[in-house]
């Protein structure tokens, strides 16, 4: 066990856990921030996606000891009032079916738009490749990403 001071969604949070504990479980079990989802645990489904700095990362494969000073953003901190352009676009298109994968999809999409405000269809598909939606909402996701890009520019 060790103490870690983490910068999450603009606040400093202190946890006392084994350094090998993935950020996913630090968030979910220790900080009761359950918006970040568990899907596979091996970086294959994207359900656990958070931002580390400006990049989308799979928190199930990110040991808490590797975070250091880097800022983490989770779905709960993407916007204060749930009005990030990507969240708004998701609501406009009414993307979710079961909804379980959507936090991860939104975190990947919002990181993509940060780096590439006007992605092509192919760029969207390749950036989103790591996020599985078992319900098959892919066409809606693509539409929502494009709307978010338009509204952002």
């Amino acid at each position: 066990m060790a103490t870690f001071n983490l910068k999450i969604n603009g606040k400093t949070q202190t946890v006392d856990v084994d350094g090998a504990t993935p950020m996913l479980w630090v968030l979910r079990d220790h900080l009761q921030m359950v918006g970040t989802k568990f899907g596979c645990g091996i970086a294959q489904c994207g359900a656990c996606t958070v931002h580390l700095g400006d990049n989308a990362v799979r928190s199930c494969q990110l040991p808490v000891s590797a975070v250091g000073e880097q800022e983490i953003t989770t779905i709960e901190g993407l916007s204060e009032h749930g009005d990030h352009p990507v969240q708004k676009a998701w609501l406009e298109v009414d993307v979710p079916q079961c909804g379980y994968c959507q936090a991860g999809q939104i975190m990947t999409a919002s990181a993509l738009l940060k780096h590439n405000p006007n992605p092509t269809d192919d760029e969207i598909a390749s950036a989103m490749h790591g996020n599985i939606c078992r319900c098959g909402t892919y066409t809606r996701i693509k539409k929502a990403v494009k709307i978010a890009a338009e509204n952002n520019s």
Binding site: M1, D18, T21, P22, W25, R28, D29, H30, Q32, M33, V34, G35, T36, K37, F38, G39, C40, G41, I42, Q44, C45, A47, T74, I75, E76, L78, G82, Q87, W90, L91, D94, P96, Q97, C98, G99, Y100, C101, Q102, A103, I106, D121, D122, I124, A125, S126, M128, H129, N131, I132, C133, R134, C135, G136, T137, Y138, T139, R140, I141, K142
Partner: protein, 756 residues
């Protein structure tokens, strides 16, 4: 208006007196916190009333006119939490923006069919939901009539406002709710005319949308309680193995670990229902403080497994007793395939025979014969299996994702030794179902663990646990034969189908009834690999096989594939073969979706570089036709577009139904093209998404368009029907694009490989 006797769903109108006027007692909270004063209604914030008045089991009205509507059924992504309350709200005549939706707990006194299965949520509750709203509307009118001393028949109710034109009186529902709640339930209620619907038939967005996109706790895995422990299971590594012994010393020494023990789920004489079933009745349990610690400790247990003997499971399915044999031994996929091929070559059990098929085949000028196969599949709901339980001496509280709370309750009660009424089950939103959560052994497991630990416990499966635990879609095989005469007329049709462990055959579905000489046979193979219902059971294979065969047959006969199907359907409609009652489809509705898709997809207007396939199928009382367009990018087939035509009766929420149509198409393309579970020495060879391939973004169709047939038929299934036919449309379009027919799923590995 249509008058109906409200006695139809009488028990749903029993008021739960413990709740009347008592405020927000129903529902649960994820973090033990109090109910908020402000609730999210349909995406916006609404001030909560000071007092609630329960009108019936489906709805309560606040003194400020806000209405809470209970959604009785499990929400697995089919959007019933929005669509079911819409039906109540329409009949109640309330503005949708004043509605708050709450998930109802399991309550067999109030609701019927609290199941997410068979695509029946809407169809089975359609009448009750309408009556719940209409009854409340009538009671509000009667309360106003009393207050104003005018006849109730002169009062109108529009968008939550009661008015009496002659006297000039008006009142909001909130003003009359208290008085209405005291009234007797009327003997008869008037239902609205279909043409007067103002909410049904309009798109309403997912009531949980805002919570989903902001990461609010909604799912079973999100449940947290004071003092809650986490449990994980270790099950045998192969079907055909069972626990012999274990040493947990190392695991017990790991941080946060409380206990490791073996758990026998059911006694041998337990009267099981098929939905109680588990492949592994004895498992190891690890209980600890946090999920990660438990996952780590599971790997540290030293276990010795041994070969299990032959087992015969007795179980019941809606009153029918059945015996399921699980032979001893470790099975392999090659062995499965050779067994299926061996049996497909022999005569099998005749399920239907019309005319003289033997003679037709004997006299045929040409016989077309093709075989189709598909592998086992894991459901792979995005949210792995999990459940929460808090069991005390005399009470059990369960909370989590289940498609069958009602059917699991007796198993939980029996395992705990508690009477049924001491077991309370509530449902969270669920990260997918697809049939997997019909089988709720995990609820019994977590209840037993909580009872032993004397603590609240959440059981969490890893993805590997989930994927290797069984309850798979069975592996199927089918051979189709058609007899053609010298003029290329279809004179005989034969299907022989089998599966491990069930047959995929629907002997009385199309083209049965359309061909004079028809033979359908089937067979089964026992296995110790456990299987269960998977979105559109059996149809999820046989539709694609049949629709691929019909495509090939049309080509052989020199006919357009839609015209060919329409000819057969015309015959089935005008002069059906066999007893018309036995043909379990409506030929004109079937033809209707084919005609609609032909028009909407501009079928027949060939476009350079676009390769099209068509398919149509009937299941869960609905009809779906799909046209799928492929373009080749180099040697890679890309699905450009899917056009779907659907007849599911009245469409309650068109936007949500379109979402299901899109999901069904993606799901069908994905599984037919990429997915499969294979076995070696009794173990699944794919245990996570690194080797189990699910469809991803770039592989999904670029566009999906859905068109609904407009009619006044009561709603039928929507969750399952769009899934099976697309596999046929895909195979048929692939043929046009590549010149090759695909017979064995997943097509990506059908020899020779589709793409590199």
């Amino acid at each position: 208006m249509t008058l109906v006797k409200s006695t139809l769903g009488r028990r749903a109108f029993i008021r739960n007196t413990g709740l009347a006027g008592g405020g927000l007692v129903l529902g649960f909270s994820f973090f033990n916190s109090c109910k908020p004063k402000v609730a999210e209604a349909v995406g916006m914030e609404l001030e909560m009333p000071k007092e609630w008045f329960e009108i019936n089991g489906y709805l309560k009205i606040g003194d400020n006119g806000v209405v809470t509507i209970m959604s009785p059924n499990p929400e697995i992504g089919q959007n019933v939490r929005t669509s079911m309350p819409m039906i109540v709200a329409d009949e109640l005549e309330i503005d949708w923006k004043n509605v708050v939706v709450e998930q109802a707990p399991l309550n067999t006194n109030l609701y019927s069919w609290q199941v997410a299965g068979g695509s029946r949520s809407i169809s089975s509750s359609w009448q009750n939901l309408r009556m719940a709203g209409a009854t409340a509307r009538q009671m509000l009118k009667e309360a106003a009539a009393k207050a104003w001393q005018v006849p109730a028949s002169e009062i109108t109710a529009i968008a939550g406002v009661l008015s009496h034109e002659a006297s000039g009186n008006t009142a909001g529902y909130g003003d009359m709710a208290s008085a209405a709640a005291q009234l007797e339930v009327p003997e008869q209620v008037e239902l609205k005319e279909i043409t007067d619907f103002s909410i049904i038939g309009t798109t309403r967005k997912n009531v949980d949308g805002k919570k989903i996109v902001t990461g609010k706790p909604l799912f079973g895995l999100d449940v947290q309680r004071e003092g809650m422990l986490i449990a994980g299971l270790v099950h045998p590594p192969a079907f055909g193995k069972r626990l012999k012994s274990f040493n947990a010393d190392a695991a017990m020494g790991m941080p946060g670990i409380k206990e490791v023990f073996s758990l026998k789920l059911y006694e041998d004489d337990f009267d099981k229902m098929a939905f109680h079933f588990t492949a592994f009745n004895e498992v190891l349990v690890v209980v600890g403080e946090s999920t990660w610690q438990v996952f780590q400790a599971k790997k540290a247990i030293e276990v010795e497994w041994e070969d299990a003997p032959d087992v015969t499971q007795k179980m019941s399915m809606f009153g029918n007793q059945m015996e399921v044999k699980h032979p001893a031994g470790m099975e392999n996929s090659e062995g499965h395939m050779s067994k299926l091929k061996e049996l497909i070559a022999r005569n099998a059990k005749v399920a239907r025979k019309d005319g003289n098929p033997e003679k037709a085949f004997k006299n045929a000028a040409k016989i077309v014969e093709r075989s189709y196969s598909c592998p086992f599949l894991a459901h792979n709901t995005m949210e792995p299996m999990n459940f929460f339980a808090h069991v005390t001496e005399d009470h059990a509280e369960l909370l989590g994702p289940t498609q069958t709370p009602e059917w699991m309750e007796p198993a939980v009660a029996e395992r705990l030794g508690l009477p049924l009424e001491k077991v309370d089950i509530q449902m969270t939103r669920q990260g997918g179902g697809f049939g997997r959560r019909l089988y709720g052994h995990f609820m019994v497991e977590v209840a037993a663990i909580s009872q032993r630990m004397k603590a609240p416990v959440k059981l969490v499966y890893t993805r590997e646990d989930d994927m290797t635990q069984g309850i798979y879609r069975p592996a199927y095989y089918a051979t189709y034969r058609a007899a053609l005469d010298a003029d290329n007329n279809l004179i005989g049709f034969h299907v022989r189908a089998g599966g491990i462990p069930e047959s995929p055959l629907f002997a009385n579905r199309f083209p049965a009834g359309a061909i004079d000489n028809y033979l359908a046979e089937d067979f089964t193979v026992d296995t110790n690999i456990t299987t269960g219902a998977f979105r559109a059971p059996r149809s999820n294979f046989i539709a694609g096989a049949e629709q691929s065969f019909l495509d090939e047959l049309a080509e052989e006969m020199g006919k357009d594939p839609i015209d060919f199907r329409l000819e057969l359907l015309k015959r089935a409609e005008e002069n059906p073969v066999g007893n018309p009652e036995s043909n379990d489809y409506d030929a004109s509705r079937y033809a209707g979706v084919l005609e609609l898709v032909r028009e909407k997809a501009n079928w027949g207007q060939n476009q350079e570089g676009i390769h099209r396939g068509v398919s149509a199928y009937f299941c869960h009382q609905s009809y779906v036709a799909q046209v799928l367009d492929i373009v080749m990018e180099g040697d890679k087939p890309v699905v450009e577009k899917v056009t779907a035509a659907i007849d599911c009766g009245i469409v309650v929420n068109p936007g949500a139904a379109a979402n299901l149509s899109e999901g069904g198409a993606v799901d069908g393309i994905g599984h037919a093209m990429y997915s499969g579970l294979t076995f070696k020495d009794g173990s699944a060879e794919q245990t996570n998404f690194d080797r189990y391939r699910l469809i991803r973004h770039a592989e999904a169709p670029k566009a999906i368009e859905t068109h609904f047939v407009k009619n006044d038929i009561d709603p039928t299934g929507m969750g399952e029907p769009p899934f099976p036919p697309i596999m046929g449309a895909l195979a048929n379009a692939l043929y046009k694009a590549t010149g090759r027919r695909y017979y064995n799923q997943p097509f990506i590995t059908d020899k020779p490989p589709l793409v590199g």
